[in-house]
């Protein structure tokens, strides 16, 4: 079994039929989406839907997920499935805790990256050198990492001041930056609760106020990944290992080396995600990753193995998660939003003559709107599920044209081409 998985006869994107949307179209789409959200906000009075606080929290929540997703991207683009991201993230949290309390947050981040990279190295040795099934190696790493970090925590943190057997001593946070003046200006606008204008203000304010340098770093890495993988010789070679390693080998590319670099980088990214989580929470805690590695992997698949897509996936997840954590009121409004979005989707699908999807969307959409109309709040237990439900709905109803790297999950052996 390999995680390339079955295509199950589902249409994959036809090669070459790249209907590249122009940036302007994306902008229009974004504005239209924001308008719908804004409408729902005005209708429901759930101002938290687009408040700067929600946006900032969404960004914070999305960063570790996106970094784990980037880790998955690097690895899978080089043809290796990395289900061990969660484990590598755990290593990152420990590294950040260990170095962070002694030598400051930045050293902590570096240590997290390094430990994550070690996790990646182990995965590389197992999958590339020993040809172990990628899933097995990943599961083993995810299994060992929490045990190992706990073992090490008992060894190193139990006696440290402010530490414990399951947590590191406190780690200072890194600097946060804001654009002076802008914040208060946007804040005033946001407080007006005008249609669209306040939403844009909230969005911008959330993105520009109290921004952690680590968040900036994550954004840079996202852009940097896109550049390195698609615009440099190194990236081309790395991606060739995920598409046609034997062809690459026949052109003198050292496939093993690139696979190693990619998987180690993958671990480093996941480790960084963990480290950022630890540093921004002020300490390492056992179990603190809480499955974010898996969500990162999911966001990468969601994003169709592309940095922009995975950022969107992580952002969507972060947004809904932040919203549900911040209060139940906006989740109730989310019901209406989902209902409306589904109806819009039904309309689009109807025009494309996909009646089955359209009718499912109508029924679901009506159900959500009915649910919204007949209740005052969503049951708090179910609210926790909001990010997962939304992700699943978006995935199921949006056209899925996955373009998996062709050789992903397969075991490459030298000279077998």
């Amino acid at each position: 079994m390999s995680a390339g998985g079955l295509s199950a006869g589902v249409e994959v994107a036809p090669a070459g039929a790249k209907r590249r949307l122009s940036p302007m179209i994306y902008l229009y789409l974004a504005v239209a989406a924001l308008a719908v959200v804004s409408l729902v906000r005005v209708l429901t009075g759930a101002n938290d839907l687009t408040s700067s606080g929600t946006v900032a929290a969404a960004l914070t929540a999305a960063v570790p997920i996106a970094l784990a997703g980037l880790g998955g991207l690097w690895s899978e683009r080089a043809g290796v499935v990395n289900i061990g991201l969660e484990g590598m993230m755990v290593l990152g949290t420990w590294g950040a805790g260990f170095a962070g309390y002694q030598w400051g947050p930045w050293v902590g981040v570096l240590a997290g990256v390094a430990l994550g990279a070690v996790g990646g190295l182990i995965h590389a040795v197992a999958t590339v050198t020993f040809g172990v099934d990628h899933i097995i190696s990943g599961v083993a790493i995810t299994l060992v990492a929490p045990g190992l970090t706990l073992f090490l925590a008992k060894l190193y943190f139990a006696k440290a001041p402010g530490g414990g057997q399951k947590q590191s001593p406190p780690v200072a946070d890194v600097q946060k930056v804001s654009i002076p003046g802008l914040s208060s200006l946007l804040g005033d606008l946001e407080q007006k609760h005008w249609f669209l204008v306040s939403d844009v203000a909230g969005l911008l304010r959330g993105l520009t106020t109290g921004l952690s340098l680590l968040t900036l770093l994550a954004v840079l890495l996202l852009v940097g990944t896109a550049y390195v993988l698609w615009k440099t010789p190194f990236g081309l070679r790395l991606r060739s290992c995920g598409e046609a390693p034997h062809a690459a080998e026949s052109l003198g590319v050292n496939v093993i080396k690139y696979k190693y670099s990619a998987i180690i980088a993958s671990g480093a990214f996941a480790g960084l995600g963990g480290a950022i989580l630890a540093v921004s929470s002020g300490q390492f805690r056992d179990g603190q990753t809480g499955g974010r590695g898996y969500i990162g992997l999911a966001s990468m698949i969601f994003g169709n193995w592309r940095p922009g897509g995975l950022a969107a996936g992580a952002g969507l997840f972060g947004y809904t998660d932040a919203m549900q954590l911040r209060g139940e009121e906006s989740v109730h409004a989310l019901l209406l939003l989902l209902g409306l979005a589904l109806l819009v989707l039904a309309f689009i699908q109807l025009r494309a003559k996909r009646f089955a999807v359209a009718s499912v969307a109508v029924v679901l959409g009506a159900a959500f709107i009915l649910w919204f109309a007949t209740t005052d709040k969503a049951p708090p237990e179910l609210v926790t599920a909001a990010p997962y439900v939304v992700t699943l709905l978006v995935l199921s109803l949006a056209a899925q044209r996955l373009r998996v790297p062709k050789y992903v999950g397969q075991i490459f052996r030298r000279g077998e081409g």
């Binding site: 249409e11 070459g16 039929a17 440099t232 598409e243 690459a248 026949s250 052109l251 003198g252």
Partner: protein
Amino acid sequence: MHALVGENGAGKSTLMKTLYGMHRPDEGTITIDGAEVTFHNPADAIAAGIGMVHQHFMLADNFTVLENVVLGTEPKTGMSLDFKAARAKIKEISARYGLGVDPDSLVDNLGVGERQRVEILKVLYRGARILILDEPTAVLVPQEVDELFGNLRDLKAEGLTILFISHKLDEVLSVADDITVIRRGTTVASVEPGEVTARQLAELMVGSALPVPELRESTVTTTPVLEVSGLSVTGSDGRTVLSDMSFTIHAGEVLGIAGVEGNGQAELVEALMGIRPLAGGRVSLQGKDLAKESTRDRRDAGMAYVPEDRHRQGLLLEGTLWENRILGHQTKAPSVKAGGLLLDRKGAREDTERIVKDYDVRTPGIEVAIASLSGGNQQKLIIGREMSGNPVLLLASHPTRGVDVGAQAAIWEHIRRARAEHLAVLMISADLDELIGMSDRLAVILRGKLVAEYDPKSVTPEELGSAMTGAGEGVS
């Protein structure tokens, strides 16, 4: 221009891979321009000016031509890949040798001929002085072959050394300056084209006479088996790949379909097998409409299928021989019992032994993984499997591709025998001699349409070739 010939598994590819640094020789030396060299990997060979076009395409389908070509020797500006420079250089080489390759098209969209040219471009891009071409013509039609050899002659004139492998002995005799014949890993002869005939060359290769594909007497009946009318198929991207196809195959008849690869023959076979949905038209087998039936129902109705890519569609490589015997026959005795719900392992094993014997599959036993058999022996097992259970229609895509001469003769003989027993056959092949020799009727497919029909008794490969490329359109 040096040619290397030998039967399947003689070691030709292995030797070339060794020259290209993909395998290490156990002993012996490689000398270039009088200097002894040692290659640890292809990069060393490339540095020494060797370029290789492999027997199977070595291309990343999801990359553009440009990305495929520059991979490994990318021009840079600063840190970035210099797409502009690369594009210019590719266009320049492409123009110089008349390769007609667009650097920005996606390889997935290219036909085999174009892919072959991309492979050559890759080699030229690296400035190779020694070109190794492993069976470059296997998938090309005569016109494309001529074009290719024209290109190679130009290169030769520029002082390049070319080493090529081919099973098509006429071709070898017409273009090579020297010929080396190898058998079971050693050189058995070094000859010049002037000294030998194709027949002699074949005898040197295998130690026996070259078999001729021919059907002998006609067994065609008037009973229609497969009737196809107005068949059309749309690709996943919405393009029409087959349009308005109509033909009938009778019991005891072989209909050969000639065409340049990528003109819809793969889609035709898959549509007939029910693997691809039809956009329109009727398909009926012995009068029964199949258009809505599943692949399994079609197989149950008596269709047999030799796929063009045995590794992808014909075999479970990790499965044993007898498990592969069951594949495609999951509903029929002797593979299953109890109304088709349970496997009949004993029956399947016994029948596999029969196929191994009847079809001369060279294997130490039926419990080994089929992956460890050579391609030719794998193909023999597939033919034997598909011929069992008395099918009424055989869809055979390249039934002898990559198979050595002995096995080829055996496969032809089996098809002939089944045809005498009223099997209807749809045969697709890139080997025009095989098509002409083995068909009762020949049709040419071009851009998803049947454009011409020929009598194999009178047609020449050149005529066929021009019809296949569209040059002979209108001929009937």
